[in-house]
Symmetry: C2
Subunit: 334 residues, 2 copies
């Protein structure tokens, strides 16, 4: 029997545990080209919230009653496909299930002979890292002259953004919620960190952190932090918008950054939204660079690992209350 | 004696006639490299509102008690400078004065042997036209596949944007205030026009005009029209922000486009603000192209000409109540 978490209903506002159901199914037989995989680690990500709604998703929304799925690392349990052997480690988009059947062509085999933990291929060496790279390097075109501000800096993407900015020689300040996370930013080599929770006047704190203005802004949060950043951009500044976790559970259209048009015109700002799945062709290039940085210790893979298949829904929910440092992963099997 | 309009005080909100003063001065003597110019036509432009404030200007604000200045065409009255003869027509940044002394090196001599009216070099063949070109062609990279939306479409810049879009083969819809202006858009070859004043639900009207979404948005207006456009952008749409006339007289930071971050990320939008003065190096290229379009009749130079030096302040004020079709000019001398 396979245990599976499905979407019980579409969440309204902040999701709750009752939006998930656990079901059981008999194991499927393997078809042509299929392999059976046991997920070992599953990623829980803020963007999944969008897929739980039917309106706000940029990829197909999850169906009510259908499995939740996310990126995972698994072990091949059964295979008749050339090149996939029992015990091989693979990465794919997996249902939240104790085992699954997948077309081998949709899976990516982890490099063997590796000296990094497999879970890194979900974080700094996976789509999370590529997201940071696409936004900061490809679209943001970071240089050593930049003054970079990144929100959600202790999160999965933000923690890589800050390190890539540091590697590029830029000055980089990150915002995060709470003193523990801000201490983490220092360890990752951020120039400075801002605890947005302890800041009475975030806009003023940001002005103090960037007296000459922000030249490159990488946003994961949206809302009031986005507004404050837009107000503190330098002439010709670039803003790269990756996500807006502060708004994912809003039930009404959130208000926009005040004075937006005026700042964008007068300061000649460029604002660019992006989604990593449009840029998968860059993964090989990124992986080659980032693997070296990880091996040399320049790029740390920051993870929060929650134990147990049962914890998948609660680990996901905790993303919206700041429960993770770095990439949030659930270890569902050893 | 020279008559000059100066800024009497910094306007608060919508400017009034009392924000201007007229003074008289004795004519200045010519220094080395100077010529004396009599302005014939002066341009009045929404961006001058920014220069009347001390905070919101991207170029030096006007001084209280100092002359208002704007682009103009004038006639050389007196010159000891090689290459500048009495009667030559020149373009420059002129004070709102009945005569002025300028360094010849700051002036641009109009092409002789021309078959277009001199005032066109303030409009479609001047900075106004270059503004449209930079935004639509250089930054917006318009192609014949585009579905273009331009606000303030019957205005100086907007009327050129629509024509350049039509020349590029794109579908182009413009918004303007009132039936007369919308009729004008048809004459200029816009695909369609929207009268934003008669539209009960502008967002709904815009959705109907762009059932497949807007791929390229050129904004002169800001506010609710910007918000509606952002909500109706296609995936990978580009928005080029040139101005926000609906907000120039706001005394508080205006609210921003609701749901902005969400739309920008999910639809991978690019939003780019610009100011034409950063792109003057492109003027020669633009003038060469646009002169041919004007001569062949593909590009019309739309103007509203107000008569008389005394009318300068009131002509400027009328910009904010929709008083102009095309470029707003004041003929201050024959």
């Amino acid at each position: 029997m396979t245990r599976i978490f499905v979407l019980a209903r579409r969440p309204v506002g902040l999701p709750t545990i009752d939006d998930f159901d656990e079901i059981s199914k008999n194991d499927e037989a393997l078809g042509d080209g299929d392999v059976r995989v046991e997920p070992m680690v599953l990623s829980v990500d803020p963007y999944l919230r969008g897929r739980m709604s039917d309106a706000r998703s940029y990829v197909a929304p999850f169906e009510v009653g259908g499995a939740i799925s996310s990126a995972g690392i698994g072990k091949v349990l059964e295979s008749h496909v050339d090149g996939y052997r029992v015990g091989d480690l693979v990465r794919g988009e997996f249902p939240w299930a104790t085992s699954l059947v997948a077309q081998a062509s949709t899976l990516w085999k982890l490099p063997v002979d590796q000296d990094v933990p497999p879970s890194a291929y979900l974080g700094a060496l996976g789509m999370t890292g590529l997201t940071a790279y696409v936004g900061l390097v490809v679209l943001g075109q970071v240089t050593s002259d930049d003054e970079v501000f990144v929100t959600g800096a202790a999160g999965a993407v933000g923690s890589v953004v800050g390190q890539l900015a540091r590697i590029s020689g830029a000055r980089v300040v990150g915002s995060a919620g709470g003193a523990t996370k801000v201490e983490q930013l220092a360890k990752l080599g951020f120039t400075a960190g801002i605890d947005y929770r302890s800041s009475d006047d975030f806009a003023q704190t940001l002005r103090a952190a960037f007296p000459n203005g922000i030249s490159l802004f990488f946003d994961n949060v949206g809302g009031s932090q986005l507004e404050a950043a837009i107000h503190q951009m330098k002439d010709f500044g670039r803003a790269v918008l990756c996500g807006a976790i502060s708004q994912y559970n809003d039930t009404q259209l959130p208000s926009g950054p005040r004075g937006f048009e005026g700042f964008v015109v007068r300061r000649r700002l460029r604002v660019q939204g992006f989604i990593v799945s449009d840029h998968l062709a860059l993964y090989r290039e990124y992986l080659s660079l980032a693997s070296q940085w990880v091996r040399s210790g320049q790029l740390q893979t920051l993870e929060t690992i929650v134990e147990g298949f049962d914890s998948l829904p609660s680990a996901f929910l905790s993303l919206f209350t700041g429960g993770n440092v770095g990439k949030m992963l659930v270890r569902v099997a050893i």
